[in-house]
Amino acid sequence: METLSIYAPKLVTNKEYIASGHRACSGCGEVLAVRYVCKALGRNTIISNATGCMEIISTPLPETAWEVPWIHTLFENASAVASGIESGLKSLKRKHGYTKEVKVVAMGGDGATADIGLQSLSGAMERGHDFIYVCYDNEAYMNTGIQRSSETPFGASTTTAPSGKNSLGQHTQKKNMAAIAAAHNIAYVATSCSSYPFDIMSKVEKAMKVKGPSYIHILSVCPTGWRCASNLTIKLGRLAVETGIFPMYEIENGKYTLNIDLPKLRPVEDYLKLQGRFRHLDKDITAEIQEKVFDEYNKVKRLAAGNKAK
């Protein structure tokens, strides 16, 4: 679908809601994902941003890269701040003649979402606030220097779970945030990746139509933390999807749809070998990862197929 749309890039709005001059690393995939999300959201948006790379690279006082109303307060509370924004607007509408239609969006990295901010996200989803949560998952605490998070994949070497004589690096499996979000019985959950702008934008547009909470989990390539060349950002995101390591799917009212269903997955090796964080892995571990990827991918596939069968 991506390769078919050869001239499609020009169909994307020129309007940017995050400006150049931001301080993201050269080749940052996360800021690209933010850009696509913002393009889809448009101007009538209020963003509550968790502490992290996107906050630090965009708002050094007295400057800001943002062109939509934006608030950063702390690390673990973006969803709670969004809850307050949404409730405040509701009250203003009911009581004080406020008429604007505003989409409230909370965003954060994988640490802010799956670790320190999981409670506030769960609370906000459970309470049913009308907001979109976007997780930009670059698979570690990149802002503080590549420390492991619960979204760091098995086998990756990070500064707090480094590979060594007695360790292969991360020894746990990546936390499945999409399933956790879906367990809150919210209407829309999706996964996407920074290399798929049209996929991101269409998913954000869908989420905007949902009344109540929606959750989008975007794998965002980080050349600095993944220890790869800065020009490989897009390629690596594609490989994450094409190897089945990061399947892109939607869960609409509990029903799974696999958005890119490949007849044959590329070997995980193709993805792993381009990244310094996996350089230490031997054949056995790579095979183990391969097997796990098949398992997890097939799980999603079965869920999607079961959905079709109905």
Binding site: I6, Y7, P9, K10, V12, E16, I18, A19, S20, G21, H22, R23, A24, C25, S26, G27, C28, G29, V31, L32, R35, I56, I57, S58, T59, P60, L61, P62, E63, T64, A65, W66, E67, V68, P197, P223, T224, A229, S230, N231, L232, T233, I234, K235
Partner: protein, 294 residues
Amino acid sequence: MKQGDTIEIRWHGRGGQGAVTSADLTAMSAIHEGKFAQAFPSFGPERRGAPVLAFNRISAEHPIRVRSGVVKPDIVVVLDPGLVTLINVVDGLKPGGCLIVNSTRSIEDLQGEFSGDWTLAVVDASSIARELLRVNIVNTTMLGAMIKTAGAIKMDSLTEPLEEKFGARAKANLEACHKAFDTTVIGKITVGGQKKVRTFAVAKQPTWSELLVGCAVTDVGSTKRFCTGDWKSQHPVWDDKKCIKCGICSLFCPEFCINQQKDGYFRSNDFYCKGCGICAQECWTQAIKMVEEA
């Protein structure tokens, strides 16, 4: 304990180029020699590619107590050739001090950039690093040039810290150091010898009473004033003959700085481009090449 005989060094590099490692190795070598030394980075939110600083203090005589940034260095080492024209690298450099630059430019050419009573040393560290280390990371290579020009540490005392830090790769790094030592060209900068005077912008910061309530910023999109183009060490060049005007380069640009011109072809805005190379990598018709900065 007098603090007067301390040598202060300022390293200029880019995030990811390892200027901090240069400073670390210098301090460890000095300590290895029995001297007192400090190495420290400038702590900031700088990212990969952004100009960064690292510092040393070395004293043969006494423990070092000062923990402030180095503002009047005796030695300035510039790891990235492009920084010479971007930043005032000689800011605060003491009279009689040394400026050591990685560049392919001739010493005569570089002499024309500065005015002051300083020693200038030039070495093509990038070529040495590419040849001996197979990567354009010059943080260890430049140590050789620094030792030759300023002698703040001895070459021999580098061996152990290098081995500790680089293990098997220490040998090649030491070789690069030696080659830099041998090929560094040393000359003089004179007061008034400057051919081209450059001005470097100093951002004016607000006073406390000029800040808006709650430090709100209403000047949205104002990072546009900030030049991230300084960060790049390569830039994209378009071959319009191959270009099919699809715009994929623009879509995938993390600086949002590739725009379509009136003729339909695309160009990057040099003021923001960080030289990541995504556009060249992703171009379907290979119409874009990344070219090293001069």
